[in-house]
C-alpha cells in the first residue's frame, strides 16, 4: 500500500521486538556463564539494535510522507467475528514512543552495567530489562487494543519482577517482594477497567484494531442523538428476526456519546493504574524498592507513561466524550497537586522523585484530558529525559554513598567492630547486601541501619561527586520548569492549554485544572530546590557522605547524554515551530496554540519564587543536624510526610476487609459451615445416624435376631450331623458307593 522504498524499512519493524527477545534468550541460556559484564553488554546491544530499528522507522516515515503502515506478522486470536493479529502499527505516534523507549532504554541499560556490577543476579536483571523493552515495544507498537494490553500487562510483570528484584530485602525480608506484589495487584485493578473497556469496544465496533475502531467512532460520531447500531455481524445472538423487530435508531438504547463515555471512563481506570493517578497511585512510591535503573526506566520514563500513550492513542473516542475528558483532566490535575505536596515532605531521595513523577504524570494526564495531546506527548518526552536523568543521578548518589559507607564499614571492621552484619543474608548474597541493601522502600522502618537514600544523611556532595552534581542540577532545573530548559516548554504548553479552556473558553474545570497545576508547579520547583540543596550543598552530615566518591564512566556518560537532552529537549516543539506537533499531527488531531506570554511569565515567576523560597529555608543556613527545617510546620508536615495517609486509608477500607472476608469465607463459611457442618455433620452425619439406627435398632434388633435364631437352630442340627463327617476319605467313598448302589438299583430294578 506504500511506496516500495519505504516498505522495506517498515517491514523491519518486527525486528524491534526480535532483538530484545533474542537478547533475553541468550541471557536465559548463557547469562550465568558469561556473567558480569557480558550479560549486560549483550542486553545493551539488543536494546541498541532496537533503537536502530526505531530510527529506521523514523526515516521510513519521513520518506513515505508520514503514511501509517500496518505490518501483519501472524494471526493471534481468531474466534468468529473476533480477529486479533500480531501486527504492528507504524505511525508517528508509535514511532515516537519506540524511539523514546529504545533510546532511553539503551542508555539505562548501559548505566546499569555499572550500577549492578557485582550483583549475584546480574544476568537476571538484564533478562528482565530486555523483557521489559520487548513488552513496552509491544505496548506502543501494536495495532490493536489487545496487543496494547499484552504489553501493558507485560510491563506490569517486569515491573513486579524488578521491584522485587532483591526479593529477600526490605522490611522483614519481604518488603521488596510485597512492594512488587502491591504494584502488580494495583495495576491489575486498572487492567480490570481496561479489559472491560476492550469488551465494550469490541461489542460496539466489532473489532479491537485501532484503525477499525476509530473509523467506527468517526463514522458514527455525528449521530449523537440516536441509539447507536452495533457493527454488522456483532451481537449475532440477537437473532436476525429480533434485529428486524427493533430497527436501530430512535428507540431506546445507548447513544454513541454514552458508549464513548463508558469506554473512556473504563480506559481511564486503566490509565490511573499504570500511570499512577488518583486513586491508584499508591504503588509507585513503593516501587522505588527496585534497583535505581529500574526506577528510572520503568517507573519514570517509559512504563508509567503508557496510560498517557493509551489516552492519546484513543483520542478519537475521548473527543466524543467531553464528560470523560473533564474527568481525566481533573484527575490528572488533582494527582499533580496531591503528589507535589507529598514530595515536599519526603526524606528518601528516590521517594521524592517518585512523587514528583506521579505529579508530572498528572500534568500529562491533565493535558490529555484537555485534548492537548501534543502537549501531553511533549511533556512525556521531556519528562522522560529529565526524570530518567534525575533517577539515574540519584542512583549515582546512592552508589557513592554506599561506597562511602562500605569503606567506613571496612575501616570499622579493621578496628575490631563488625557493625554491618545485621544487614545479613545468606552467604553468597553478602556482597549484594552490602552494596545494595539500601533499596529499602521504607527507610524509617529500619532506622537503626544506615540508609544511603535518606537525604538527611547526605549534604555537601557537590565537591565529592562533581559530574553527578552538575547533571542532577540540570535535571532539577529542567523539572522545575526554568527557561529555557526542556521542562519549561512542555509544562508551559500544558498550562497554556488549561488557561485557554479556563480563561478563554470560560469552562470552570479549565480554571480548576489551571489552578491545581500551577500550585503543583510551585511545589515542584520548591521540592527540587530542597532536594538539590539538601543533597549537594552545605556540610557533610555523615561520615559516609564524607567518603562518597564519583561513579565510574559507564554510569556518568549516559547521565551526560541525558543531561544534554534535558537541556535541548524543548527544541522539539518550540512555539511557532511545532515540529513535534506537525509530526504527531500525521496520526492524531492536533491544534497548536500560540505562545501565551502571560502563562509563561506567570509560571517562570512561580518557579523562581519557589526556588528562592527553598533557598531561604535550606540554602541560607544549611542543615547540620538530621532535623529538617520544614518539620517546624508540625502537624501539616507530618500529614504530608505520611502521604496524606492514603495507604493507611486503603488498608483500612480495602485490604483489611478483604483479608477479613477472605478468612471468614475460607475458614468459617467454606470450611466450618459448608465443609464440616453441612457436609460432614448434616449430610454425612445424618446418613450415619440413619445408618446406625437401621443397623443397630432395626437390623440388629429385629432382622438379625430372627436370623440369629435360625442360625442357632441350624447349628444345633449341625452338631448332630457333623459327626457324619469323619474326615476319612474312604468313609466318603463308602457313602458314594452306597448312593451308587441305590441309584443303580432304582434304575435297573424299578420297572
Amino acid at each position: 500500500m506504500h511506496e516500495t522504498s519505504s516498505f522495506s524499512l517498515q517491514a523491519l519493524v518486527p525486528l524491534i521486538i526480535f532483538f530484545p527477545v533474542a537478547g533475553l534468550l541468550i541471557n536465559v541460556v548463557a547469562g550465568k556463564k558469561i556473567g558480569d559484564p557480558w550479560a549486560g553488554i549483550i542486553a545493551s546491544l539488543a536494546s541498541g539494535s532496537s533503537f536502530v530499528i526505531a530510527a529506521l522507522q523514523f526515516v521510513g516515515l519521513t520518506q513515505n510522507g508520514f503514511h501509517p503502515a500496518t505490518i501483519h506478522v501472524a494471526d493471534w486470536i481468531v474466534i468468529g467475528e473476533l480477529n486479533i493479529p500480531w501486527a504492528f502499527q507504524v505511525d508517528t505516534l508509535s514511532v515516537t514512543m519506540m524511539l523514546l523507549v529504545t533510546g532511553v532504554g539503551t542508555l539505562i541499560h548501559i548505566y546499569a552495567i555499572g550500577y549492578m556490577k557485582g550483583d549475584p543476579r546480574f544476568h537476571r536483571f538484564f533478562i528482565y530489562l530486555n523483557l521489559f523493552i520487548a513488552s513496552m515495544l509491544i505496548l506502543v507498537g501494536g495495532n490493536n487494543y489487545l496487543m496494547l494490553f499484552v504489553g501493558w500487562e507485560g510491563v506490569g510483570l517486569c515491573s513486579y519482577l524488578l521491584i522485587g528484584f532483591w526479593y529477600d530485602k526490605g522490611a522483614g525480608g519481604v518488603g521488596n517482594a510485597r512492594a512488587g506484589r502491591k504494584a502488580f495487584v494495583v495495576n491489575r485493578v486498572g487492567d480490570f477497567g481496561f479489559a472491560l473497556a476492550m469488551f465494550l469496544i469490541f461489542w460496539t465496533t466489532g473489532s479491537l484494531t485501532f484503525d477499525k475502531v476509530f473509523a467506527y467512532f468517526e463514522e458514527h460520531g455525528g449521530e449523537t442523538q440516536h441509539a447507536v447500531a452495533p457493527e454488522a455481524g456483532i451481537g449475532k445472538l440477537l437473532s436476525p428476526a429480533q434485529q428486524d423487530e427493533e430497527p436501530h435508531g430512535e428507540s431506546a438504547g445507548p447513544t454513541i456519546v454514552t458508549i464513548a463515555t463508558a469506554i473512556t471512563l473504563l480506559l481511564l481506570v486503566g490509565a490511573t493504574g499504570k500511570s499512577a493517578q488518583i486513586p491508584l497511585f499508591v504503588w509507585l512510591p513503593d516501587a522505588m524498592a527496585g534497583p535505581t535503573p529500574v526506577s528510572a526506566l520503568i517507573h519514570a520514563a517509559t512504563m508509567v507513561t503508557a496510560g498517557i500513550y493509551m489516552i492519546v492513542r484513543s483520542n478519537v473516542i475521548f473527543n466524543l466524550a467531553p464528560a470523560s475528558q473533564m474527568t481525566v483532566a481533573i484527575i490528572g490535575a488533582s494527582t499533580a497537586f496531591l503528589a507535589g505536596t507529598i514530595a515536599v515532605a519526603q526524606f528518601d531521595i528516590k521517594r521524592v522523585l517518585a512523587y514528583s513523577t506521579i505529579s508530572q504524570l498528572g500534568f500529562m494526564i491533565a493535558a490529555a484530558g484537555m485534548g492537548a495531546y501534543v502537549a501531553a506527548m511533549f511533556h512525556l518526552l521531556t519528562h522522560a529525559f529529565f526524570k530518567a536523568l534525575l533517577f539515574l543521578s540519584s542512583g549515582s548518589v546512592i552508589h557513592g554513598m554506599e561506597h562511602g559507607h562500605h569503606a567506613l564499614a571496612h575501616d570499622a571492621e579493621a578496628h575490631g567492630g563488625g557493625g554491618h552484619d545485621d544487614h545479613g543474608g545468606n552467604g553468597h548474597n553478602a556482597h549484594a547486601d552490602e552494596s545494595h541493601g539500601s533499596a529499602h522502600a521504607t527507610a524509617h522502618e529500619e532506622e537503626h541501619t544506615f540508609d544511603p537514600q535518606d537525604m538527611r544523611n547526605m549534604g555537601g556532595l557537590r565537591a565529592r561527586m562533581p559530574t553527578t552534581f552538575w547533571v542532577y542540577f540540570i535535571g532539577a532545573v529542567a523539572l522545575a520548569g526554568v527557561f529555557p530548559l526542556a521542562g519549561f516548554w512542555s509544562k508551559d504548553e500544558i498550562l497554556a492549554d488549561a488557561w485557554k479552556i479556563g480563561v478563554t473558553d470560560g469552562e470552570w474545570h479549565g480554571l480548576v485544572v489551571y489552578g491545581l497545576l500551577t500550585v503543583a508547579a510551585f511545589f515542584t520547583a520548591f521540592y527540587m530546590g530542597r532536594q538539590v540543596l539538601m543533597v549537594f550543598f552545605g556540610g557533610e552530615r555523615t561520615e559516609a557522605a564524607k567518603h562518597a566518591h564519583e561513579s565510574p564512566a559507564v554510569m556518568t556518560v549516559p547521565l551526560i547524554i541525558l543531561a544534554v537532552l534535558s537541556v535541548i529537549g524543548g527544541a522539539m516543539n518550540l512555539p511557532g515551530l511545532h515540529w513535534l506537533g506537525q509530526w504527531i499531527e500525521h496520526t492524531i488531531e492536533a491544534h497548536p496554540l500560540d505562545f501565551n506570554f502571560v502563562v509563561a511569565g506567570l509560571s517562570t515567576v512561580i518557579a523562581l519564587v519557589a526556588i528562592g523560597l527553598s533557598y531561604l529555608v535550606y540554602g541560607q543556613r544549611p542543615m547540620t543536624t538530621m532535623l529538617d527545617p520544614l518539620e517546624r510546620l508540625g502537624r501539616a508536615f507530618t500529614f504530608l510526610n505520611g502521604k496524606w495517609y492514603v495507604d493507611e486509608l486503603y488498608h483500612a477500607i480495602i485490604i483489611q476487609p478483604f483479608e477479613d472476608i477472605g478468612r471468614f469465607l475460607a475458614y468459617a463459611v467454606d470450611w466450618e459451615l459448608w465443609h464440616d457442618i453441612f457436609h460432614d455433620n448434616i449430610i454425612a452425619g445424618g446418613f450415619r445416624w440413619i445408618a446406625n439406627f437401621t443397623a443397630w435398632s432395626v437390623d440388629k434388633g429385629v432382622v438379625d435376631s430372627f436370623f440369629d435364631g435360625l442360625a442357632s437352630l441350624v447349628r444345633d442340627w449341625a452338631d448332630i450331623f457333623r459327626r457324619f463327617q469323619t474326615g476319612y476319605v474312604r468313609n466318603y467313598a463308602l457313602a458314594v458307593l452306597f448312593g451308587a448302589v441305590v441309584v443303580l438299583g432304582v434304575f435297573l430294578l424299578a420297572r
Binding site: V174, L200, A241, G425, A684
Partner: protein, 505 residues
C-alpha cells in the same frame, strides 16, 4: 470401518495393552513396571497424534466414527458401541493422552509402594477418561463415566495422604450421587427417543422435556466440575490425592464435567440451556469470586491451588453458557489451559513436598534463592494460571470474558453486563492469591533452616515440566491451531443454539 482397529478404539483401549504387560511383570521389578507404564501411555499419546492427523479440521461433524450395534433389548433399547470425535473432544483427548505420561513419569520416585497396582490403575484411568470423550452413545458414555471413578477412587484411597479414605469415599459418593440422576435422564432419553446415540437424539428432544433433563444432566456434571456450591469434595480429594492423582484430577477429571455440559447440556437441550444460562452464570460468577477469595487465606499450598480450580472452572462455565463462539471456544481452550497450568502447579507442589514433606506456606520462604530453576518455572506457571498475556491462561480468559460480555447484550444469553464485569474481578483476585503464594514460597529470606540446601530440580522433574511449559507458551503466543480445530464444531453448535433460541421466542 473395522471396529476393533479403528484409531479411536485404539487410542481408547491401548493402555490396556500396558495393563496386560504389567500383569505379567513381577512386582519386584519396579523400574520395568514404570517403563512399561510410561511406554504404554506415550504410545497412546502417539496414537492420539495419528488421530489428530486423521482429523479434518474443516468438518464440523463427528469424525472417525466407529459404530456397531451392541446391546439390543426389545425394540426401544438400542445401545450402540459408538465412538466419534469433534474438535472439542479431540482437544480434550489430546490433553488426556498428553497429561497421563507426564503424570506417570512424575510418580517415578514419589510412588514406591505397590507400584504395579498404581500403574495399572493409572492406565485404567486413562481408558476411562478417553472413553468418556470419545463415546457418542449415551449409555456407553455413562459406563465410561462411572468407570473412570473407580481407578481414581483407588488412587486416592491407597496412595493418598493422611486422610485418604475420607477423601476417596467422599469423592466417590458425590460423583456417584450426581450420576444417578444422569442415568435416569439417559434412560428416559434412550427409551423415549428410541436410541441412545447422541447424533440421533440431537434435535429430537421435545422442548417441554428439556428442562428436567437439563437439570438431571447438570446435577452430574456440576458436581464433577465442580460448580459452586458443590465444590466441597474438591479440596479434600486434591489435598489427599498423590501428586499425579491431583494432576489428572484437576487436569482431566474436572473437564469431564465441563465437557458434559458442552456436549450434552448445550448440544441436546439448547432451549433449556438458553433458559438456564443466567442461573448457571450466577453460580459461575460466584464460583469465580468465591474460589479466588477463599484461595487467598489458605495455609496449605495444595488447598490453595484446589480452590483456585473452583475459580478457574467458574470461568469455563461462564464461557460455555455465554452461548456464543467467543465464550464457548474460550471455555474449551480454558479447559486445556487449566489442565496444563493447574496440572503443572500440582506437579510443582508435589516436587517440593517430596523434598520437605510439608505443604504449609508458612514453612517456606526464600526458596528462589535455594532452588532458582524451580522458582523460575513456578513463576511461569503461576503467571500462566493468573492469566498473564503471552501465556495460555490469558487467551482463554480473555475470550471467555469477551464472550460473557457479549452475552450481556440485551436479548442474549445473560442479558446483563454485570456477569462479565464481576467475573473480571476474579482476574484481579487471581493476581492477589497467586502472587501471595509465590511470595510466601519463594521470596524473602530463607528463614526456615530446613529449606537450606534443598536440591534444585533433577533432570526427571525438568523433563516432566518442560512439555507443559512449552504448551503454556505455545497457546499463549499462537493459539490459532487450537481454535482452528474447534471452530467449525463450535460454530455449528452456536448456530443450533441460536435457531433453538429463535424457536423458543
Amino acid at each position: 470401518m473395522n471396529v476393533l482397529f479403528s484409531t479411536l478404539t485404539l487410542v481408547t483401549f491401548f493402555p490396556l495393552v500396558g495393563v496386560a504387560l504389567l500383569l505379567f511383570t513381577p512386582k519386584e521389578q519396579k523400574d520395568t513396571i514404570r517403563w512399561i507404564a510410561v511406554g504404554a501411555s506415550l504410545t497412546t499419546f502417539l496414537i492420539s497424534l495419528v488421530m489428530l492427523a486423521q482429523f479434518n479440521p474443516a468438518d464440523p461433524n463427528m469424525q472417525l466414527v466407529v459404530r456397531s450395534p451392541w446391546i439390543r433389548i426389545g425394540s426401544n433399547w438400542n445401545i450402540d458401541f459408538y465412538f466419534g470425535i469433534d474438535g472439542a473432544s479431540l482437544l480434550l483427548i489430546l490433553l488426556t493422552t498428553f497429561l497421563t505420561p507426564i503424570a506417570i513419569f512424575s510418580s517415578w520416585t514419589a510412588i514406591e509402594e505397590r507400584v504395579k497396582e498404581y500403574m495399572i490403575f493409572f492406565l485404567l484411568l486413562e481408558v476411562g477418561m478417553v472413553g468418556v470423550f470419545v463415546s457418542l452413545d449415551l449409555f456407553l458414555f455413562y459406563i465410561f463415566w462411572e468407570f473412570s471413578l473407580v481407578p481414581m477412587y483407588l488412587l486416592v484411597g491407597i496412595w493418598g495422604g493422611q486422610n485418604r479414605m475420607y477423601a476417596a469415599i467422599k469423592f466417590f459418593l458425590y460423583t456417584m450421587a450426581g450420576s444417578i440422576l444422569m442415568l435416569l435422564a439417559i434412560l428416559w432419553l434412550g427409551i423415549n427417543v428410541g436410541t441412545f446415540a447422541y447424533t440421533d437424539i440431537l434435535g429430537k428432544v421435545p422442548a417441554a422435556a428439556q428442562g428436567l433433563l437439563f437439570l438431571a444432566f447438570a446435577a452430574a456434571f456440576a458436581i464433577k466440575v465442580p460448580v459452586w456450591p458443590l465444590h466441597s469434595w474438591l479440596p479434600d480429594a486434591h489435598v489427599e490425592a498423590p501428586t499425579a492423582g491431583s494432576v489428572i484430577l484437576a487436569g482431566v477429571l474436572l473437564k469431564l464435567g465441563t465437557y458434559g455440559f458442552l456436549r450434552f447440556n448445550l448440544g441436546l437441550f439448547p432451549e433449556a440451556a438458553k433458559q438456564y444460562a443466567p442461573t448457571i452464570a450466577v453460580l459461575a460468577v460466584i464460583g469465580i469470586v468465591y474460589g479466588a477469595i477463599v484461595s487467598y487465606p489458605q495455609k496449605d499450598v495444595k488447598k490453595l491451588v484446589a480452590y483456585s480450580s473452583v475459580s478457574h472452572l467458574g470461568f469455563v462455565m461462564l464461557g460455555l453458557f455465554a452461548l456464543n463462539s467467543q465464550g464457548i471456544q474460550g471455555a474449551i481452550l480454558q479447559m486445556i489451559n487449566h489442565g496444563l497450568s493447574t496440572g503443572a502447579l500440582f506437579l510443582l507442589v508435589g516436587m517440593i513436598y517430596e523434598r520437605r514433606h510439608t505443604r504449609e506456606l508458612a514453612q517456606f520462604g526464600g526458596l528462589w534463592t535455594v532452588m532458582p530453576l524451580y522458582g523460575t518455572l513456578t513463576l511461569i506457571v503461576t503467571l500462566s494460571s493468573m492469566g498473564l498475556p503471552g501465556l495460555n491462561g490469558f487467551v482463554g480468559e480473555f475470550a471467555i470474558l469477551l464472550g460473557a460480555w457479549g452475552a450481556g447484550q440485551p436479548g442474549a444469553a445473560y442479558g446483563s453486563y454485570a456477569y462479565a464485569a464481576v467475573a473480571s474481578l476474579g482476574v484481579i483476585l487471581a493476581a492477589v492469591y497467586m502472587l501471595w503464594m509465590f511470595q510466601k514460597m519463594f521470596l524473602g529470606k530463607v528463614e526456615n533452616p530446613h529449606n537450606n540446601g534443598l536440591a534444585d530440580l533433577n533432570w526427571r522433574e525438568v523433563v516432566v515440566l518442560v512439555p507443559l511449559i512449552i504448551m503454556i507458551f505455545w497457546i499463549g503466543l499462537y493459539p490459532a491451531p487450537f481454535f482452528d480445530l474447534m471452530s467449525p464444531s463450535v460454530t455449528q453448535l452456536v448456530a443450533a443454539i441460536q435457531s433453538a433460541a429463535v424457536a423458543l421466542r
